[in-house]
Amino acid sequence: MNNRKLGLGVIALSVLAIIGMGVLWAVYGWMPAQKANLAPVIDGPFYFVKWASAALTLGVVLAMLYLMVKYTRKSETQRSEVVIPNTIMETAWIVLPTILVLVVFTWGFKAYVTSNVAPPGAYEIYVKGKKWLWEFTYPNGVVTNELTVPANRPVKLIMTSDDVLHSFYIPEFRVKHDVIPNRYTSVWFESGQPTATAAQLETPGYDFVQVFCTEYCGTAHSAMGTRLNVLMQRDFDTWLASVETPSEASVDYGEKLYSQKACITCHSVDGSGKVGPTFKGIYGRQQQMTDGSVVESDEDYLYQSIVNPGGQVVAGYQNQMPVIALDEVQIQSLIMWMKTVE
């Protein structure tokens, strides 16, 4: 393993690494699709810094490889020349990067200001983060768990949390903000083209914009994502007017709510214990509570557990469940459906 062979090895590995990175870069790209009108404003500095970074890294690596080869040791007693650092060069590589980063800072700062301040008259939706679901409340009082917004119109989300920190993140909109208990924070965006029509929302498999939670919030943090649907204004109005609770409770509606309200994240229907007890055979089951008492889970217990989840917790489980926004018909439907899960 002499110096020359090792030098060739270093060059080979460096070239391999650069090619590998280049291939990944070309195949997978970087930013996701731009689905909000302000996304290009954020992507501008991103792509600039990306190319500048690539050039700088390549420059450093090439200089390193060049010097390594050029000044490779030829004999063990080889003396190196005394080098007096060149002041101009030293100054240059202090001043030039400084200018570069100040440009980048200014660009990022301007884009931040642009993207941070919601225009007046934005359509406001209240958002509540809970372990582990989102609740969206529209101006007419409708509550949903998927976010549906009108296209090409500024939308402002006013957000708070019921329990711990969450973070509301829409990658394709370049929007993110922490959601904090006891405090309102907000984000705004203006979505681009519609992703679906009102009719499509009724059928499975429609296209949507992905929403994630990005502040670690416990067990099911990674299962707190939801859909964002963008509808044309007219479709949106139709949809908003049509979202209403059925006037009568039903088992089918209860089953729908089981997934819609994210009960599914913590309560299984196959008998396996998750964050909460399974719903399989829950009706009429005798269960020991954390306080030692044994309670039959009848309608009353199920009702109380939904409206006041921390009241009587089944032994072996933590008091984790948030109060979910449900009206009487919805609670009744859920209980009716739970009675059928065996």
Binding site: Q78, V101, D207
Partner: protein, 590 residues
């Protein structure tokens, strides 16, 4: 590599290779109660390496879980505990003490020409305090586990399992170890330098450790207080961070990052020191710009206290704060950039010798540059909104912490291994190890940049399920799956490389393995020129007198086969044969 069975060169008269700190005094008890900085350094070295191993295994488990969408090998709660432990073990028990406490303890007194650190007993105490902290961490795992992430963000950390209490105490206690080491180093550097060793002649490793120590002493109390507040809040219900009690959860983040951002420099500054030593020795060239490198470390140490808010751009802190923190973040990027340019330029007109430590130094330059420029990306306010808490951040800090600090640590261990143990490892296998680490590292972490910019959030057990039980959009699952698969495969290559490097080093300790020469790399600092390998229990036979800079290779005549005085008191006793320090150039045998 030469088999190097010849007597070590530059060996003060009367010294035998067997007369060394490893063997005298003998017995386990003499080790456990030692106040010798070298032995304490070695004990730290093996302990932190043990934690690196544990943290590494946890990392492999995390990667394995993410290889495919859905639950792969563990459930959500287990995963959350595993990634938390990976973070806590790697940050608090491995990387913070890694270079300063192991290499630093071993080298600092030798490099400044002192017999020991200023407070040897305090030094031993700090080792046991560190062990006590580690024990508390283990207790936290046994009593309930911890699933908060290494950041312990409130209010989640106030309501999850009680293991958090143990873990916060572990961090509190381990912090004292860090503070005591810092004080010890600062005093040693100020008061115990050998005659002639002026500040401008300090090896850059010492400058790195000095800057680190300042940060350790000033920043660590803040994490201690924060952990104590968290503890009090949980145990006594005093409202500090919990909004339910009138506290402010964002305040915790300010406190936490006020320590943890400077802690990033506790991790990287000693690595800068190591790289400065490696690049100069193996280029046989004076560092290009001694003062810029030395002073930029100090500049980083101070500016490091003013940028914590860049972890909180989306936390709800005021926009004005975010803007100010973004600006200062850029200012701190510049000194790091200067260092990289200077290291590369050090090879100019040098005599570059590619041995394993230099291979790690070159890998460092490659990986740390990527870590640095992606840090600039994260400092762009508007862009950070998108990238915050995604895998882009994960990839960035692994490039800096692992590609930077850990690579420098491993390179440093390879460099000082012959000094510490008097044995030379197998050059071929250690080269293979270095190559595998470099390749594996890039396969593991480069895809994570793309994952993050495509929107993959960090701390995710799974990337395929929505809250309502239905799948995440299919094209997103497909993209994430491919990149995660690559990353996981990379983690195996990386692990293999680390094991090869680790066992190559260990194998050199066996009986009959080749002995190292006194100064096998032809280095110019006191640790190599004025002590034996391994060093005497008291380091020096007589106090060295320093008459030149740490990298004045043009004055180091003994390197070039024409004998003479190196000028630091290591003048050869008999003055007879010219000590040829450097191994033969036709060293193709392994």
């Amino acid at each position: 590599m030469s088999t190097a069975t010849a007597a070590p060169a530059i060996l003060p008269k009367g010294h035998e290779p067997t007369h060394n700190y490893l063997k005298e005094p003998k017995g386990i008890k003499s080790w456990l109660t030692t106040v010798d900085h070298k032995r304490i350094g070695i004990m730290y070295l093996f302990t932190v390496t043990g934690f690196f191993l544990i943290g590494g295994i946890l990392a492999l488990l995390v990667r394995l879980e993410l290889i495919a969408p859905g639950e792969t090998i563990m459930d959500q709660d287990t995963y959350n505990q595993i990634f938390t432990l990976h973070g806590v073990v790697m940050v608090f028990l491995f990387i913070i003490p890694s270079i300063p406490a192991s290499l630093g303890n071993f080298l600092l007194p030798i490099m400044v020409g002192a017999k020991d650190v200023a407070f040897p007993r305090l030094n031993l105490a700090s080792f046991y305090i560190y062990l006590a902290g580690a024990l508390l961490a283990v207790a936290g795992i046994v009593f309930g586990g911890v699933d908060t992430g290494w950041t312990f963000y409130t209010p989640y950390s106030l309501e999850t399992s009680a293991g958090v209490l143990w873990m916060t105490m572990a961090v509190f206690v381990a912090g004292f170890s860090s503070i005591l080491t810092g004080i010890n180093f600062i005093v040693t550097i100020h008061k115990m330098r050998a005659p002639g060793l002026t500040w401008n002649r300090l090896p850059l490793m010492i400058w790195g450790l000095y800057a680190t120590s300042i940060v350790q002493v000033l920043a660590t109390p803040v994490i201690g207080i924060t952990m104590l507040l968290l503890f009090f809040e949980r145990v006594m219900g005093i409202g500090i961070f919990d909004p339910a009690l009138g506290g402010d959860p964002v305040l915790f983040q300010h406190f936490f990052w006020f320590y943890s951002h400077p802690a990033v420099y506790i991790m990287i500054l000693p690595a800068f020191g190591v790289i400065s030593e490696l690049v100069t020795t193996f280029s046989r060239q004076n560092i290009y710009g001694y003062k810029p490198i030395a002073l930029s470390s100090v500049a980083i140490a101070f500016l490091g206290f003013l940028v914590w808010g860049h972890h909180m751009f989306v936390s709800g802190q005021s926009e004005v704060s975010s803007i100010v923190f973004s600006l200062i973040t850029y200012l701190i990027g510049i000194p790091s950039g200067i260092k990289v340019f200077n290291w590369v330029a050090t090879m100019y007109k040098g005599s570059v010798w590619l041995r394993t430590p230099m291979l790690y130094a070159l890998a460092f330059l490659f990986l740390f540059t990527i870590g640095g420029v992606t840090g600039i990306m994260l400092g762009v306010l508007a862009v950070d909104i998108h990238l915050h808490d995604t895998y882009y951040v994960v990839a960035h800090f692994h490039y800096v912490m692992m590609g930077g600090t850990v690579i420098a640590f491993i390179g440093g261990v390879h460099y000082w291994w012959p000094k510490m143990f008097g044995k030379m490892y197998n050059q071929l296998w250690s080269t293979i190890g270095a190559a595998l680490v470099f390749v594996g590292f890039n396969i593991t972490f480069f895809p994570q940049f793309i994952l993050g910019s495509q929107g993959m959030p960090r701390r995710y057990h799974d990337y395929s399920q929505l809250a309502n039980g239905e799948p995440v959009r299919q094209d997103i699952i497909d993209l994430f799956t491919q990149l995660h698969f690559m990353s996981t495969v990379g983690s195996w290559v990386l692990a293999l490389g680390l094991f090869v490097a680790f066992f190559t080093l260990l194998a050199s300790l066996r009986k009959g393995a080749p002995l190292a020469e006194g100064n096998p790399w032809g280095a110019a600092t006191l640790d190599w020129t004025a002590t034996t390998s391994p060093p005497d229990p008291h380091n020096f036979h007589h106090t060295p007198i320093v008459t030149r800079g740490p990298y004045d290779y043009h004055l180091l005549d003994e390197l070039y086969g024409d004998g003479g005085d190196s000028g630091d008191g290591s003048k050869l006793g008999d003055g007879s044969a010219a000590p040829v320090v450097v191994t033969p150039s036709k060293d193709s045998e392994v």
